[in-house]
């Protein structure tokens, strides 16, 4: 299988704080990778480095055959091929749902307005909220907003989807509807990297689970082994805490 993300030995500093410490990671086409770990462990930073929301200080990141640098041509070539869903949804509050969805395709990809609209309605249907198309985002529930955000990302027809704690800002009863949509995408063969604390989701969807602490990847395994036979004490302790409560 083709390698779509290849991260070699990257480190990232925020001032003197080392947010990422020699991280290595490979993601194959169609693979679902779940990243978990305590807060401040560098999970979000790692994901944000993959679409260049953060720049890495050392090492190399290769995404879809392009080495990530500040070079404009490079950013141009990965833009919209790597899409992202945020913890805080980050919908555009001054635009309607459908305008949120069509803006990227029309302005960044040069898709016609008609086609962008059709695409938007298709993906709204896919995340099961076609009836909300002409409302402003603030009239929607948190779960609905996050599903709009997922549809917005999908409208760009990305090759890779990144999720940065997509359910952490949601009320408990809304988590399921969002995870369901993400699972549906996973079953469809989308390559995805998901930062989450939802261990049930990880067990169901992940091909590979990564545990991070202090900016390092401590463990990397398939779900069955990851949960049953954690190698490090740190992961044992972490799993004890998240699974028991």
């Amino acid at each position: 299988m083709k390698e779509v993300i290849n991260i070699k030995n990257i480190s990232k500093y925020f001032g003197k704080f080392k947010a990422l410490d020699s991280v290595n990671l490979n993601v194959l086409k169609g693979q679902k990778v779940v990243i978990c770990g305590p807060s401040g462990s560098g999970k979000s930073t790692l994901v944000r480095c993959i679409n260049r929301l953060e720049s890495h200080d050392e090492g190399e990141i290769n995404v879809l055959g392009h080495s990530l640098t500040d070079n404009r041509a490079c950013l141009e070539s990965i833009k919209s091929k790597v899409s992202m869903v945020f913890q805080q949804f980050n919908l555009f509050p001054h635009l309607t749902v459908i305008e949120n969805l069509t803006l990227g395709p029309i302005k960044a990809l040069g898709v016609s307005k008609k086609e962008a609209n059709e695409r938007a309605l298709y993906f709204l249907d896919r995340v099961k909220i076609p009836e909300q198309a002409y409302k402003k985002p603030n009239l929607l529930s948190g779960g609905q907003q996050q599903r709009v955000a997922i549809a917005r990302a999908l409208c760009l027809e990305p090759k890779i989807m990144l999720f940065d704690e997509p359910t952490s800002a949601l009320d408990p009863e809304m988590i399921a509807e969002v995870l369901e949509v993400i699972l549906d995408l996973a079953n469809d063969g989308m390559t995805m990297v998901v930062v989450t604390h939802e261990m049930g989701f990880a067990k169901k969807a992940a091909d590979k689970i990564i545990f991070m602490d202090d900016g390092k990847i401590l463990e990397e395994n398939i779900p069955s082994i990851f949960f049953k036979n954690p190698k490090t004490n740190r992961l044992k302790k972490f799993l004890d805490q998240v699974l028991n409560y």
């Binding site: 679409n51 929301l53 833009k79 919209s80 790597v82 899409s83 992202m84 945020f86 805080q88 949804f89 980050n90 919908l91 555009f92 509050p93 001054h94 803006l103 990227g104 302005k107 960044a108 990809l109 402003k136 985002p137 603030n138 907003q145 917005r152 990302a153 760009l156």
Partner: protein, 258 residues
Amino acid sequence: MKSFKYIFVLFFLASLASCSSGSGNWGWYVIDPTTKSGLANIKFLIGGFGATILLSIIAAFISIILGLVVALPGFSNNFFLRSFNRIYVEFIRAIPLLPMLFWVFYGLPVIFQSLGLKIEIDAFWGAVITLAISDSAFTAEIYRAGIQSISRGQREAAQTIGLSQFQAMRYIIFPQALRRILPPLANQFIYIVKMSAFASVIGMQELTRRANEIVVTEYRPLEIYTLLILEYLVLVLLISFAVRWLEKKLGSNESNSN
């Protein structure tokens, strides 16, 4: 609170009027519309409204555009563009209006002359240029504050859907910032209206200049300057009402979920 303002104004007017009938300190006859000379004086004084309003509107218009042109480079990744923004704002903001007016009106033509340019600056345009430039440093800061108040997440979301920096500003950041920018911009307009009084110093026939001229011929400063203040009060209150109305209109559409 609202009605309090008007009661106060009425009270103020009533107390002034009562003075006129009593002691001999007041001489409202200079602007008594029932006499021929009083009416002429009033017409002359009120005739300054046009110039004050025109001057303020043109200066504000230029300042709003110039402010944006100055503010946007402040968000650039380029060090020199950012420096241009900071230097402009800090430098222009530091110059008092009156010296700047003198510099533009009396100084600038000297530069033009030495460059062999035949550009004349009359009082009106001298005042417009000065007010616009002086104010633009403040409008630039208003733009900056408004744009910065939009959360980083909006910028990041714009980036992840593939928008360029300019597109993100054009379609995402600026439309949201505009709602927050408008009220302080309107406030700044009131400031311009008041500062336009300085144009009287270089001979522009606006409200204050006309008042000064009548004072010189009639020797009735109290009455005429009182009327002058009321003239500005009317102008500023009108703008205030317009701003309230605008804020209400924008407020009803406000829909920030983030």
